[in-house]
Symmetry: C2
Subunit: 187 residues, 2 copies
DNA sequence: GCGACTGACGTCGGTAACTGACATCACCGT
DNA sequence: ACGGTGATGTCAGTTACCGACGTCAGTCGC
């Protein structure tokens, strides 16, 4: 007899995704999400700073994957190679088994501007963090910012393709192709 | 004797910027903004879909500047050159006289995550629009998306520098330097 | 084993961002 | 003169949050 079921944040996230996918984001109230797992609205907002945030639970793990990727790059390589390493690490964060879940989640986000805004902000923060890691390796500010933003752009485009219905390639494979196209574009 | 003072949206925007700059965004209520120009909260929300939007009044003009820039590019030039033309047009949208106002506005945005989210969303929409214009010129989808996103990235970084205290160069000048650095990075 | 303490939760009341429905009233065309 | 139009006001309602406080099973010192 435990007092509370454990893992409240995870249960709330799962319930929220299901409700958002069926009823829609705006048509789902925070109180409903909480009630569906036996909690109150107040508890929901103790775990998540706002209603949108419940869909972004665990984002710090992706950030960490990028940073780990930066660390795997040998010293004294060019900024792009560092970014390439970070992209590879990020790709391994999304194995193919995760694709169905990612699709559902993304379809919810795609249907709501407020959620798109939050996602863009998360990606922008990720880019800033990545730029900081590059600067810590001695890259000058402008180059670090450009490399980080370009890396996140590549990641975003590759992720969008990875999610597409019928897409078979791995995220890593798509990333390298998009990166190649970027080099071709600016060359 | 007119029934209402004309230009309600503009007056609301100016009043909002002043109040946000002094009291802060969250500490300013929509009703206060409206009252400060002799209107009601309801009227505020008739002109702006939400409280944040009042700071982005006129954004469509920037979008149009980008599109006009695309049109100035001669046919059959490379996507980058088209983007370069769009960046030049965007730069002429921000003459140096506008810098002080832009600084105040940006400092308000920088101090509030909700406003940053909205700004990122506007830029993302702009990138999508730009990509659409490139596709209309016959550029393939991936290249168009990459070129557009990279162009917006360059614009964003250049704009940030242009705003910096003590910065003297024109936005156009900064843009070309950032673009050059991007080419150097991927080359 | 007993009592203080802690941490996750519930309850309650409040603020402010929006929204829909309806009324108002100068102006404009006929 | 008169009906239509459009920008505005009024009002009541929903919901996302937030602060303060109460609750109670487990835990830890003694």
């Amino acid at each position: 007899m435990v007092r509370w079921e454990p893992g409240a944040p995870g249960r709330l996230q799962q319930a929220a995704l299901e409700l958002f996918a069926t009823r829609g984001f705006e048509q789902t109230t925070a109180a409903e999400i909480a009630q569906s797992v036996g909690l109150t609205e107040r508890t929901f907002f103790r775990h998540f700073s706002d209603k949108r945030e419940v869909l972004f639970y665990g984002q710090h793990l992706l950030v960490q994957a990028f940073l780990d990727g930066v660390d795997t790059a040998p010293p004294d390589v060019s900024p792009i190679e560092v970014v390439t390493a970070a992209l590879a690490a990020a790709a391994s964060f999304f194995p193919d088994e995760r694709r169905p879940h990612a699709r559902v989640r993304q379809s919810v986000i795609d249907q709501n501007p407020a959620l798109q805004e939050r996602e863009l902000h998360k990606l922008a923060t990720l880019a800033q963090t990545l730029a900081g890691a590059l600067r810590a390796r001695g890259v000058d500010e402008l180059t670090a910012t450009l490399a980080a933003e370009s890396g996140i752009t590549v990641f975003g485009i590759a992720f969008t393709h990875w999610i597409r219905e019928g897409e078979q390639r791995s995220l890593a494979g798509i990333e390298t192709e998009v990166l190649g196209q970027l080099r071709a574009l600016t060359g």
